[in-house]
Symmetry: C2
Subunit: 242 residues, 2 copies
DNA sequence: CGAGTATTTGATGCAGTTCAACGCTCGTGG
DNA sequence: CCACGAGCGTTGAACTGCATCAAATACTCG
């Protein structure tokens, strides 16, 4: 027995748009089921044309691209509420791969009905565009981190963004949150080497800004960290939930 | 007197999706007019909420973000056929600024009718999502260039992508095309310093791969250039024209 | 207990930044 | 008509942030 959209555990968070009963019912007709995957499981592959689209109900993942010579660029971290597979839905090819980092629960939609959203529920179609636009917005910010910030600022930026998103999902307790990635993942996200990422994290720790060890990230001084990372302190925008 | 959508000079290029007469008529009802701007003119500002959306009819521009300390990250180059302002249309804030590099002619749409696209012409709404998704796709690729490639590969990648887009617009003659940006623009797009960009371009020139001087880019050896830049040689995907 | 994975730390080298200077072109004003 | 300055491209030299190499520690798990 799967969760009805009406009872979706994510709906209670302020970060997600309200939905009318009509919209909930409509989404329900799309929902094929739920999928639970183990850490490391591939969800979507770059270049593939997945028949399924997902909304993350719980757990964390990674979006990434591999280069011909084996390097990996992490595009971003995947959080609950994220919608996966939009690129495959609209173009018919993913521009990146997605894999689970922790165990994840996913709400599964059938891609063959994708077009119906546009013909039958314009409001939801608008939301899909919105999601793509937010992603574009975020990647623009990431490009600034990669292209124009030094390692310290870059790492600080990433940690702030993560903390903000976690906060919006109520996953932060007294500055601490589960962040079960490897340092290599962060390094690959910021275009840094593992070694330098490690040393940069150590410096942020010494400066009493943030500590990340054993899968737990603790932000000791959000103001200071945001300053180092040149980030505005603001909660993430309210976003649609598919 | 403005150009009717039916006679839009861009439609003849294979890179753009076919449109039905219905769609053309519909777009026509949106079109407010045409705008001609001079080089350097700002078109959209980061953080602003533009009342207008544009399709580029001719000319070239730049999307970019500025950092608090005055650095600039160029997000990408703007070509004819590009749709500007989608982020402002759907969220209500641009994530980056856009300015004209050459004189540009723009087809102007009124943002207040944006929502009508979703209620009245689902096919076009779908195209909007498509545009946002392609942009996301491209930015993912850019992140690989910034994060995981050295300067030589990065520059080669950018030149190949530019050449491919120019080719699709029939703006290439015997490997040569107008490319009226400054080296600083390319440097800001790739997260490199001006000096190093200059030296990297010089090396690509010596290697007989590509020459860019006096506003003209000439690709001497596309195969070789694509190899250095680790790019697949393929024409850009067919895209919707708004 | 040994193999595999992740974090940490030190040492060395280089790709790319920064600084500085020069040449060219073009527009402007005296 | 020439002088001057601004913008852009080019080149050399010195410096440095980060990558790379190497190795030790700590865990987990079969």
């Amino acid at each position: 027995m799967t969760i009805a959209c009406t009872n979706c555990p994510l709906r209670k968070f302020d970060i997600f748009d309200e939905m009318t009963q009509d919209e909930l019912d409509f989404m329900q007709t799309f929902k094929v089921g739920e999928l639970v995957v183990e850490p490391g499981a591939p969800l979507l592959m770059e270049g593939s044309n997945s028949p399924q689209l997902y909304t993350v109900l719980s757990g964390l993942g990674l979006r990434y691209k591999l280069t011909p010579d084996g390097d990996r660029q992490v595009i971003n971290f995947v959080f609950p509420g994220d919608f996966l597979g939009l690129q495959a839905g609209v173009m018919s090819e993913m521009g990146h791969s997605v894999e689970a980092t922790t165990r994840m629960t996913l709400c599964v939609f059938d891609r063959t009905h994708f077009w119906q959203v546009y013909t039958e529920m314009p409001r939801r179609a608008y939301d899909l565009t919105w999601l793509a636009a937010v992603e574009e917005h975020f990647l623009g910010e990431s490009m600034v981190a990669l292209g124009r910030r030094d390692a310290t600022a870059s790492v600080a930026w990433a940690l702030v963004r993560v903390a903000q998103r976690m906060e919006a999902l109520n996953l932060v307790t007294g500055g601490a949150m589960a962040f079960p990635y490897r340092q290599q993942d962060l390094a690959d996200a910021l275009g840094l080497s593992l070694v330098h990422t490690n040393k940069t994290l150590a410096r942020l720790r010494e400066r009493q800004l943030a500590t990340w060890s054993e899968g737990t990230l603790t932000v000791h001084d959000m103001i200071g960290l945001a300053e180092v990372g040149q980030v505005d302190i603001e909660s993430p925008p309210v976003r649609p939930l598919m």
